[in-house]
């Protein structure tokens, strides 16, 4: 257990030493969220559609982006660590394999939480419409969603052949999922094949859960989303423990 915290804390410090990565994971999503909100919400005569977008969909979109960002960076870092032999080196110590990987998940969750807090603070201060939401529930929903998507990230990390391809392949797999998640186009209005596919994707449940929490609906109303995310997590974890490559 102490190994987990030691390793996670170390990874946080190491990550913070790389200014570019730090800015792009934490600062950029927050700035983007505020700038988009201001420029869209600040129009003289916003339409009804635009207003709901700014008050509900854009924040959910920003939160999803943060989660996806974290997963992409997880995939990339695992691929780099594998390619350069760091994973193998760590594994030849008394650290348990799952501790090494869990430490990375923990680091990403911590960064996700930090970004969310910044988002909340920025929202209070600079966002054009009042955001009235239970930040605690939102954080919980975000963590549940992130863990589930990260388990998928480990599968993707096993699939990418080299570290160079980790970012592009991760993007290619994860962003289309966001497109099918119901965030931009309601699931009901998609073609039937896509609807079926959407029901297998963790992002669909994540978006539904986050949006529900955002709109003030209770957790009970989203039991199925949580169950879906848990199932995805269980399946992906089981699969990755079989196919995950350490070198």
């Amino acid at each position: 257990m102490s190994g987990l915290w030691n390793l996670a804390w170390l990874e946080i410090k190491i990550f913070a030493r790389e200014p570019l990565g730090f800015i792009s994971t934490i600062i950029i999503p927050v700035i983007m969220f505020v700038v988009m909100g201001r420029s869209l919400g600040g129009r003289a005569d916003p339409s009804e559609r635009l207003r709901t977008f700014v008050s509900a969909d854009l924040p959910v979109f920003a939160v999803m982006l943060i989660a996806l960002n974290a997963v992409l960076s997880l995939v990339t870092i695992i691929a780099i660590y594998r390619e350069s032999g760091i994973l193998k080196r760590l594994r030849a110590t008394p650290l348990r394999p799952h501790t090494i990987l869990t430490a990375h998940v923990l680091v990403k969750l911590i960064f996700t939480s930090v970004t969310l807090v910044l988002l909340a603070l920025a929202g209070r201060r600079f966002y054009p419409v009042a955001l009235d939401v239970s930040w605690f529930s939102l954080a919980a929903a975000l963590i549940v969603s992130s863990v589930s998507i990260m388990s998928l990230g480990f599968l993707v990390a096993s699939l990418v052949p080299t570290a160079r391809f980790a970012q592009p392949i991760g993007t290619l797999i994860l962003y289309p999922m966001l497109g099918m998640s119901g965030l931009f186009v309601p699931i009901d209005s998609m073609p039937p094949a896509m609807q079926t596919l959407a029901h297998f994707l963790p992002l669909t449940y994540a978006v539904s859960l986050l949006r529900g929490i955002w709109l003030g609906e209770g957790w009970l109303a989203h039991g199925w989303d949580v169950a879906g995310l848990a199932l995805v997590c269980a399946v992906c974890t089981a699969l990755s423990s079989r196919v995950f490559r350490w070198e």
Binding site: K13, R89, R96
Partner: protein, 306 residues
């Protein structure tokens, strides 16, 4: 050697797809010795060593290390051994002191880390990022990490590959120092000079099979006993007189130098005595003693670099 085996490997096999990387490998490593697994790139050294360390699962054979099964009891084993992997890396921006602290936190017994860094000449580097270290400094850090739990047995895989001669000599001294503190060392190398200078015993491995195991001197005596003396002289009768030494073969090379070959350990003595007895004046005298390199060539039919 009366010491007991620290490592026992019998019939080890490991296949990657269609490549049979290690094929029926058996050997023992004794307490307190420096044992080297030597062979060209791709011979199966790393695979063998990683199976013994318990980081890789063998397809067949028995491995016992410090009385433990290295795959089943890997966590118990890792507490008692130190491992340096070939071509290892750490996080680019991890500090030397952080790596050492992380490693120290993982073991039940640990040495004084400040002292250890001092012994390895890294005390001034403790705040440096891994990526800023030189090749030799990185290798010394990996040795430090391998020694942090005061292990009984240390694994070193191609420790000096890619280092300049000066750094290489410094590392050899370090390894001798580790052995002098009573530890057993199992290393691999494709550098014959390294094996000859450092190892008490070596196993030559080629295409996944052990070709022979013995001390470097023992291997040379057995496979390449022939010594050579090359001398330059104006004396035309030299050839004939040298031929009288028993068990030698005398010829001339294209520059006219006399070449005396023989298997006897006292070939040099015989030649010198003969030259003195017959007052043969020589203007140049060279001896060529076979090395492990020659043994390797003899046993495998190719040089180690091919």
């Amino acid at each position: 050697m009366a010491a007991s085996p620290v490592i026992q490997v019998a019939g080890l096999r490991k296949r990657y797809g269609s490549t049979l990387a290690v094929n029926d490998v058996s050997f023992e490593v004794y307490d307190g010795e420096i044992f080297g697994l030597i062979g060209p790139n791709g011979a199966g050294k790393t695979t063998t060593m990683e199976c013994v360390e318990g980081v890789r699962r063998p397809d067949g054979g028995q491995i016992s290390v410090l009385g433990l099964d290295s795959f089943r009891d890997v966590y118990a084993l890792q507490q008692r051994v130190g491992v340096q992997l070939q071509e290892a890396h750490l996080q680019k921006r991890i500090k030397v002191s952080e790596a050492v602290a992380l490693w120290a936190s993982l073991y039940k017994t640990k040495v004084d880390t400040g002292k250890l860094l001092g012994q390895l000449g890294l005390q001034d580097k403790s705040n440096a990022w891994f990526m800023t270290l030189s090749g030799g400094q990185k290798q010394r850090l990996f040795i430090a990490l391998a020694l942090i739990n005061d292990p009984e047995l240390v694994f070193l895989d191609e420790l000096t590959t890619g280092l300049d001669p000066q750094a290489r000599h410094a590392i050899w001294d370090l390894i001798r120092g580790i052995r002098a503190r009573g530890k057993t060392i199992f290393l691999t190398t494709h550098l014959m000079e390294e094996a000859e200078r450092l190892c008490d015993r070596v196993a030559i491995i080629n295409h996944g099979r052990i070709v022979d195991i013995n001390s470097p001197a023992g291997l040379i005596r057995k496979h390449c006993p022939q010594r050579t003396v090359i001398l330059t002289t104006e004396d035309a009768t030299a050839d004939e007189k040298l031929r009288a030494i028993s068990g030698v073969e005398v010829s001339r090379d294209d520059k006219g130098a006399v070449i005396v070959r023989g298997d006897a350990a006292d070939l040099m003595t015989g030649v010198i005595a003969c030259l003195a007895d017959h007052r043969i004046r020589v203007t140049d005298f060279q001896t060529v003693v076979p090395t492990l390199e020659d043994v390797f060539l003899k046993l495998t039919g190719h040089t180690i670099r091919q």
